[in-house]
Symmetry: C2
Subunit: 372 residues, 2 copies
Amino acid sequence: MKHVRLGIIGLGVMGKAHARTILEGRAPRLRLTAVADSDSARLAQFGDIHGFATDRELIASGMVDAVLIATPHYFHTSTGIAALNAGLHVLVEKPISVQRADCDRLLAAHKDQQLVFAAMFNQRTDPLYRKLRQLVTSGALGRIRRVQWTVTNWFRPDAYYGLSSWRATWAGEGGGVLLNQCPHNLDLFSWIFGQPHRVRGFCGFGRYHEIEVEDDVTAFLELPDGATGTFITSTGEAPGTNRLEVAAENGRVVAENGTLRFTRNLVPAPEFSRTTSEPFSAPPTRERVFTFKDNGAQHPAIFRNFADAILRGTPLIAPAAEGIRSVELANAILLSSWTEKPVDLPLDSAVYARWLKRKIASSRRAKGIAAG
Amino acid sequence: MKHVRLGIIGLGVMGKAHARTILEGRAPRLRLTAVADSDSARLAQFGDIHGFATDRELIASGMVDAVLIATPHYFHTSTGIAALNAGLHVLVEKPISVQRADCDRLLAAHKDQQLVFAAMFNQRTDPLYRKLRQLVTSGALGRIRRVQWTVTNWFRPDAYYGLSSWRATWAGEGGGVLLNQCPHNLDLFSWIFGQPHRVRGFCGFGRYHEIEVEDDVTAFLELPDGATGTFITSTGEAPGTNRLEVAAENGRVVAENGTLRFTRNLVPAPEFSRTTSEPFSAPPTRERVFTFKDNGAQHPAIFRNFADAILRGTPLIAPAAEGIRSVELANAILLSSWTEKPVDLPLDSAVYARWLKRKIASSRRAKGIAAG
């Protein structure tokens, strides 16, 4: 096999963009051979490509080796399971599912390890985050003590929420900014610093928009090895901020505006604290600034890696199995906000499922797609 | 009266510095006529000034019109009450007391409104904070939506905590970074944005040092008019950060490194959100940067203002009555951290007093000065 025959399921904003990326040859070993969408007008926009009205028809067509799932979130689980059961490789958009229980079902369907199952965490290709991860995991920063990520540059006006009726509803999307915009940030957080073991969430539901889900979040996170963290996001603030600060024994790193600024302690803080006799002194520092010419190859890199994994066994940048972490984090922040209590991870997925079911039952989107 | 005869009570780190400021003539209408400290070696350093072994002797001496109280925190209450009862004007170092119940007692002693009762909130003289307050209170920012202050540039090595045995103990100081380093920041927070009505605190006790009180704090604050806030501080991080970000309807302000950066929305965010038809757009902005040549006149300005208030009735920059807010905020953050529950303000001072009493009872500083 020299090429992978790819089907794209779902031709919404992202599915269409992905189709164009493939058609432009930016992932040369992927060939777009089929698309599926319930909306025939969308299919008509890709008239040269074989179109199907449902995911099941595309999956059963024999025309694809692999599928990209770019449907509304709730469908990721059922479509993913169907594709894996049919022996297809799968690349799933983020979030891999809406809740942890669905992630478990989806990942359990990945029985044949010959099948490549990847997730669209394209921000893992950003050289800034790759460098930061290297600084953290190599031990260059020493022990991490505090992580603070403010990522409020997800401003969305009311017109955005009017794009599709499933958006920003419990029945249609299963969450707001945490499930739609932030899976990338939550994935990077966990990928770089490890998964928090305790979460407290303070969410605003419909604080900035006429929606029922969260559009404003502050979370306090407790991390492995005693570090603490805050994660702040919103779709209501303009202008937004994207600033990630890491306080560690060996210094401080600030990632903002495409720059990584590492202010390194010439003596690690704990050692300095123990040994100096000067009560108002602090460790001397040296600053290193890492700049990056762009934010990496992003979606095309994930596509090329997906093809290489299928054709050559190249390790995945973002295995789908790792996609459970950002879902679990989002779920835990919401659950803590509803219960006004800390939530321990791993998340009790049955408890979350019950809460979400109640939210879906009360959803203003009367006829939901949650069962889809 | 052309001059105010001032007595300084307590010649520790700050008391000594204040004495020098007065002796250098930086507050010309204040004359240092007496000092008090239980340590005769400290008195000897100011041999030209009449020295007393106790606050009560200085207060009763007839040699002063006013006192500056710069003792360990717990003494602020008892010394302040004694001085006010003796008909002296009082300038008290921050925090005005250790807990809200003590603040109430202290402020209740201020019966004679002819007496000037001020607090040493010298950071209110910083032109950066004055400008920010003006932007907020004038309505230039519109409604405030989120405030995030990270003030971790309070690094203190172990040697600092060894300076005096009362430091960083429940019995001797009544708290850690919130009571010693942060009163300024908590005062500014409340002065600029108003007092939060609900507080959640997540403190680390002895996280970075061999101390029993908090040296690491994350707090989530709910503010008047629906704004939210986070306040993060620590004496264990090096290098530290001091960055204050304000997200408001009319734009974002970031205060850091002596600069105030106001990114103003040409259309307020709520109006833009309602009216644009572009789903991924955000309001156009214009940036204004305010720079300041220094951080203001600080302590000498408070001294001069104190003298002017006594001699001419000039309004105080920081009336002691406003000092209750930073104490209450510190108390509430600690209480929430102990109880793992949100704490509503105004604080129930009896509840806090019971908790603090228990902490004092278990304090490693066996013979406390809390009763002082």
